[in-house]
Amino acid sequence: MSEQSKDVCDPSSAAEASDSEVNSSPGVPGGLSPPASQAAILAGPETPPLGPTDAPLASPPPQAPSEEGDPKALQQASEEGRAHQAPSVAQPGPAPPAPAQLVQKAHELMWYVLVKDQKRMIIWFPDMVKDVIGSYKKWCRSILRRTSLILARVFGLHLRLTSLHTMEFSLVKALEPEELDRVALSNRMPMTGLLLMILSLIYVKGRGARESAVWNVLRILGLRPWKKHSTFGDVRKLITEEFVQQNYLKYQRVPHAEPPEYEFFWGSRASREITKMQIMEFLARVFKKDPQAWPSRYREALEEARALREADPSSHCPRSSVSED
């Protein structure tokens, strides 16, 4: 596992709450550990320092150079805004809130950001201030930093300022590899997803798919012919040998091609077990489009479905029985 055990739990985290001027150098190169005072925040201000084996949370997140500088810039922006709004009434500065209140604000902000991201909405800094931070605007920097830390430690997500100009944030996944997730839930097993991806490509092309084309598509999933993969292992062997042995794919030399090239076709087992409509549904899910975005293929799938129903009126929608290995 990728845990670094240089976690430092510092009881001065309580002091950090009221201190929003932590030293930050915008040019911090990646990989350095964050300021020690941040480390214990998530465990709560009361947690005593623990050794690595007992550490409630794992290692600090990798530092991005932009993270440190941004809260400062935003702090200035929000302070300027406040200065413009403040009327002539002379008020004493607001009392610094209790650490627990700032922690609570950080939790609220964390949820707010997660929900915005879930709904694929823009995370806009002025909205964050208006909807969540409110009267704690002066401490928004420390709240933001705390939130970022929680998101990194618990969710493996980076809260990044994507555009200082528009003041937009986004949640970026901090775990590798990334692209697998889309396939994982769309199908029963990752193997199925991989196979369906190739079958779909062949189907959409309407003829054999050259090996180069297949690898172009698999590259989107982060798969390369020479790279061993944590889930699929030797991908090339899997698709050119195992899937072929199982009759899900046919792997044939392209006639008259120099240098030699190979192409993939549907195997006999794929034709038996997988319907065109299943391919259309798969495409719709993966590309988040209506199946009718591939009109001629969709028509074909409909016709096949009708033919199947007529051939055997007693059967319901056939399910894929791609072997779950």
Binding site: D131, V154, L175, E273, D312, S321
Partner: protein, 283 residues
């Protein structure tokens, strides 16, 4: 020193069945983080998908480790989430008892989760629909009745046509379910808002006699009026040829549904497929 370390390890791997002691915060690894990311992305997931998700996360980050039992896995994560006032909550669909999971915010005391992307009048429409659903006998509110309240909404004036679309938006976002022109709460809404609903409508709210959770759809005893969720009825009266009300002992007048069995679902899928491939091989 060896002993001390072993002792500490035993303490850290606190078995999930120890009760009474303080909840020990678990260790977050990339397996858990990816799991949380994906659970959050999907909003609400059925148990089968949650297991697949868990397996996927192990495969990606820690192939050699044994996949922890789902309940322990989730309890482990929840112990870390506790200090953040969020948790992975388990519920069940009210119509057929499929277990579902969602990441919910315990600190929410309003419909504020939806607040960020719905306008004031849209939120109010949801509140109106919610009230009708809770007050109804069946747990369903008709589209007509909801739309008739459009004039009473706070905020910008909304036309009925617009309101229909907003209701569809709620369905797409898994807050409401529509069945034949009537609306009820999606299991996600129940999971997320149970606390809010119980606090806001303490008199109108219905509770299941068996599991004591919020009840929107269910069956009720015609004599004494107690209610039960359909899956709770299924479990309670399983293989009971003479079902009787647990409260007043009168004959239970409704059809007893079947207990949800995930194994049966999977079997049904494979047996159909086997039949199909056998058939096609014959010619």
């Amino acid at each position: 020193m060896e002993e001390g370390r072993a002792e500490r390890r035993r303490r850290t791997e606190a078995p999930s069945h120890t009760q009474g002691g303080p909840r020990r915060a678990g260790v977050m690894t990339d397996v858990h983080r990816r799991f949380l990311q994906l659970l959050m992305t999907h909003g609400v997931l059925e148990e089968g998908d949650v297991r697949r998700l868990q397996n996927h996360c192990y495969r990606v980050h820690d192939r050699s480790a044994a996949v922890e039992e789902l309940e322990d896995f989730i309890n482990n994560i929840n112990s870390v989430l506790e200090s953040l006032y969020i948790e992975i909550k388990k519920g069940a669909t009210e119509d057929d008892g499929r277990p579902v999971y969602a990441l919910v915010n315990l600190a929410t005391t309003s419909v504020s989760k939806m607040a960020s992307d719905f306008a004031e009048n849209e939120l109010d429409l949801f509140r109106k629909a919610l009230e009708l659903i809770i007050d109804s006998e069946t747990g369903f509110a008709s589209s007509t009745n909801i739309l008739n309240l459009v004039d009473q909404l706070k905020g910008k004036k909304m036309r009925k046509k617009e309101a229909e679309q907003v209701l569809q938006k709620f369905v797409q976002n898994k807050w409401l379910i529509e069945k034949e022109g009537e609306f009820t709460l999606h299991s996600r809404a129940i999971l997320e808002m149970e606390q809010y609903i119980r606090e806001t409508y303490p008199d109108a709210v219905k509770i299941c006699n068996i599991c004591h959770s919020l009840l929107i759809q269910g069956q009720s005893c015609e004599t004494c009026g107690i209610r039960m969720h359909l899956p709770c009825v299924a479990k309670y009266f399983q293989s009971n040829s003479e079902p009787r009300c647990p409260h007043c002992n009168d004959y239970w007048p409704h059809e007893i549904p079947e207990v949800f069995d995930p194994e049966k679902e999977r079997e049904a899928g494979t047996s159909r497929a086997t039949k199909r491939s056998l058939r096609s091989r014959q010619h």
